[in-house]
């Protein structure tokens, strides 16, 4: 325990010593002023990072070692052939390069698709893994979006502060929803969560003084290391195109949002894939399969359920922040039941619990309606038909959730 805190503290101190002269002293003409916030912030960041690394190491040590007695060869997944490893490098590279080849419209669609990927990954934890049918997932999306918008409006929070704060806020809302529905299953749970989603939307719509009601809230556009993405910076700011010495383009901001969002999606993907094979993820699935058996095995079903709600909500909240950041404006009409239904459809079509399936479904279901713009009147119809067809021919979703298989012999 002492080592746990000692090492990060040491790191923080070193950072503090090293960065104070560099970032703490700001020259102004011939005099200088002392800014104590920035080195402290850096030191705190270093502390958190180091602590995170150590905890991560402990955490992964606590993973289900795939049966020590079986002596598994490391990395020898029977389901992980060469092409899959190649894809895991190729796809992120394509994803990162993509925004530079898209026009403004394409970028907007791509951002939207990634937001839905996040939402679907979040809901996949709740519905796919933990088996809790949540029909009001849009509530957390709204909390994230409004958390950022109102946080800026009232507290002057920037994008980077709002991102973790709104995520935590959404996770808190997840817990809030989780408590009363602990003993509910299936249809009953669906009804209550549906109500929860509506409650959040109605609050946003009717609390004029605080949320601006149907008029919505203006959102401040994100900045990157103090650089702004507008043509002309606000007082004292520097627009990024001047900083980089390139011509101004209105795409720059969207490219930036896309890139950050893409990295967040990768991070969340890594997190949820990892979680699936950790005790927490396993207990989510076990809870879905049989609650009584879980409890009699010593699993605290309350903690497990609440953690699923909170984790799913948090990811949904992050999606909301990005939605607000990319739109520049939020109002309650973006958070109707239709959104919940859409995300649920994505998870079901992708295959409950299947991470790649859900990602693909999210992308397809965002891009498809854009391609079908000419038939926009029939969009929902096509959607419904696709759903029916899927249920008939691929009831388990696009990609069936796979269970890892180990290549091993007995020793």
């Amino acid at each position: 325990m002492r080592r746990l805190l000692l090492q990060p503290l040491l790191t923080a101190t070193l950072i503090l010593i090293a960065t104070t002269p560099i970032s703490g002293l700001v020259l102004q003409g011939y005099s200088f002023s002392f800014h104590w916030q920035s080195p402290l912030f850096l030191a705190a960041a270093a502390f958190v990072l180091h602590l995170g690394l150590i905890l991560g190491r402990i955490w992964s040590r606590n993973q289900f070692r795939p049966v020590a007695a079986l002596r598994l060869q490391k990395g020898a997944w029977a389901t992980g052939p060469e092409w899959r490893r190649a894809m895991s490098l190729l796809l992120p590279a394509i994803g990162l390069a993509l925004p530079f080849f898209l026009d403004k419209y394409g970028l907007t669609v791509a951002i939207l698709a990634l937001i839905y990927v996040l939402l679907a990954l979040g809901l996949n934890i709740v519905v796919g893994l933990a088996g809790l049918l949540d029909m009001g997932f849009v509530a957390f999306y709204a909390v994230g979006a409004y958390g950022y918008a109102l946080g800026h409006h009232y507290l002057g929070l920037g994008f980077w502060t709002a991102l973790p704060m709104a995520a935590l806020l959404a996770a808190g809302c997840g817990l809030l929803l989780g408590f009363p529905v602990l003993r509910m299953h299936g249809d009953y749970l669906a009804i209550v969560t549906l109500g929860f989603g509506e409650i959040i939307r109605l609050i946003l719509n009717n609390w004029m003084d605080f949320t601006g009601g149907p008029n919505g809230v203006q959102v401040d556009f994100p900045t990157f290391m103090g650089l702004e993405f507008s043509r002309r910076a606000k007082e004292g700011g520097v627009p990024i195109h001047e900083f980089l010495g390139i011509a101004y383009s209105s795409n720059i901001r969207n490219i930036f949002i896309y890139l950050v969002l893409f990295l967040v999606v990768l991070l969340v993907l890594a997190l949820v894939t990892r979680l699936k094979y950790m005790p927490l993820g396993r207990t989510w699935e076990a809870l879905r399969e049989d609650e009584i058996a879980c409890r009699s095995l010593g699993i605290n079903h309350v903690v497990v359920k609440l953690s699923a709600f909170a984790m799913g909500a948090m990811i949904g909240g992050v999606g909301g922040v990005f939605f607000a950041a990319s739109q520049g404006f939020v109002n309650p009409t973006s958070f109707t039941f239709f959104e919940s239904a859409l995300v649920l459809a994505i998870v079901v079509l992708g295959g409950l619990g299947s991470i790649p399936g859900v990602v693909i479904a999210a992308i397809v279901l965002t891009i498809l309606p854009e391609l079908l713009r000419d038939f926009s009147g029939y969009r929902i119809l096509v959607f419904g038909l696709a759903m029916v067809a899927m249920m008939i021919w691929r009831p388990q979703g696009l990609i069936r959730p796979q269970r890892r298989i180990f290549l091993t012999g007995r020793h």
Binding site: A68, E289, A293, L297
Partner: protein, 246 residues
């Protein structure tokens, strides 16, 4: 060593004192008292609806007892939250097996270790010796196993938590006679390896042959208790549960 084991053999590991249980207005258990001592196989037999499963699960607080107390290895577990109880070294194979059908055999067994403070799979080697079929099926979804294999998995999952006392609820339920025989011989080897077993059965004949001691439950009360062989010979038991006239 022999002295130590004989001394501990008399120590009660599970002690239920005047336990009553009700589902709404219906009294299911009425002042039930029983003990299980270390190293024993104790069986509880009774007809359908006698309250056997209720009694077994009430040890885990599902349902909570209305009155009376339950002690496990000297700890009062009557009011302990369900998920704390397995951590003390108590495991159950619930009625109808209740394995996790969508998860693999290995994952099911891993979940059996959740009650351990330090999750290890050291017990798995031994379990695979005991249940070789599970090793063959280790990557298969548990729902695709046959009934007998699922029963073995349920037992293996419970044993993965290295319990002191194993509660078994009708392990012979819905199994072919040959498989029943196999399961009972497995239970015997589990006891020999040092785990105490409390067995709830409808298959009175098999259960009593295996057990050191037995209790007969009828309409929520303990009707008879005694050594397994004694009960087997008891005319009342024979008439009521073995379908033979005395």
């Amino acid at each position: 060593m022999a002295e130590a084991s004989s001394a501990s053999a008399t120590a009660p590991v599970l002690e239920m004192t005047k336990v009553s249980c009700r589902y709404g207005p219906v009294q299911v258990l009425d002042n039930v008292s029983l003990t299980v001592s270390t190293g024993e196989i104790v069986t509880l037999i009774g007809a359908n609806g006698a309250g056997k499963s209720t009694l077994l699960m009430s040890v885990f607080g599902i349902p909570r007892v209305a009155s009376g107390s339950i002690q496990f290895a000297g700890t009062d577990i009557t009011h302990l939250p369900t998920h704390h109880i397995p951590r003390l070294g108590l495991a159950v194979v619930p009625e109808g097996r209740r394995i996790f059908p969508g998860m693999t055999v290995l994952e099911n067994m891993e979940l059996g270790t959740m009650a351990l403070r330090k999750r290890t799979s050291v017990a798995f080697e031994g379990l695979f010796e005991l249940f070789p079929i599970l090793w063959e099926r280790r990557q298969q979804k548990a729902g695709t196993l046959s009934g007998g294999e699922q029963q073995m998995l349920a037992i293996a999952r419970a044993l993965a938590g290295q319990p002191k006392l194993l509660l078994l609820d009708e392990p012979s339920l819905g199994l072919a006679p040959l498989m029943v025989k196999k399961i009972f011989s497995l239970i015997q080897s589990i006891v020999q390896s040092g785990t105490t077993v409390f067995l709830v059965e409808q298959n009175a004949n098999q259960a009593l042959q295996l057990a050191d001691r037995g209790y007969v439950l009828g309409s929520g009360r303990i009707r008879l208790e005694g050594k397994g062989q004694e009960l087997l010979a008891n005319p009342e038991v024979r008439q009521a549960y073995l379908g033979k006239l005395a």
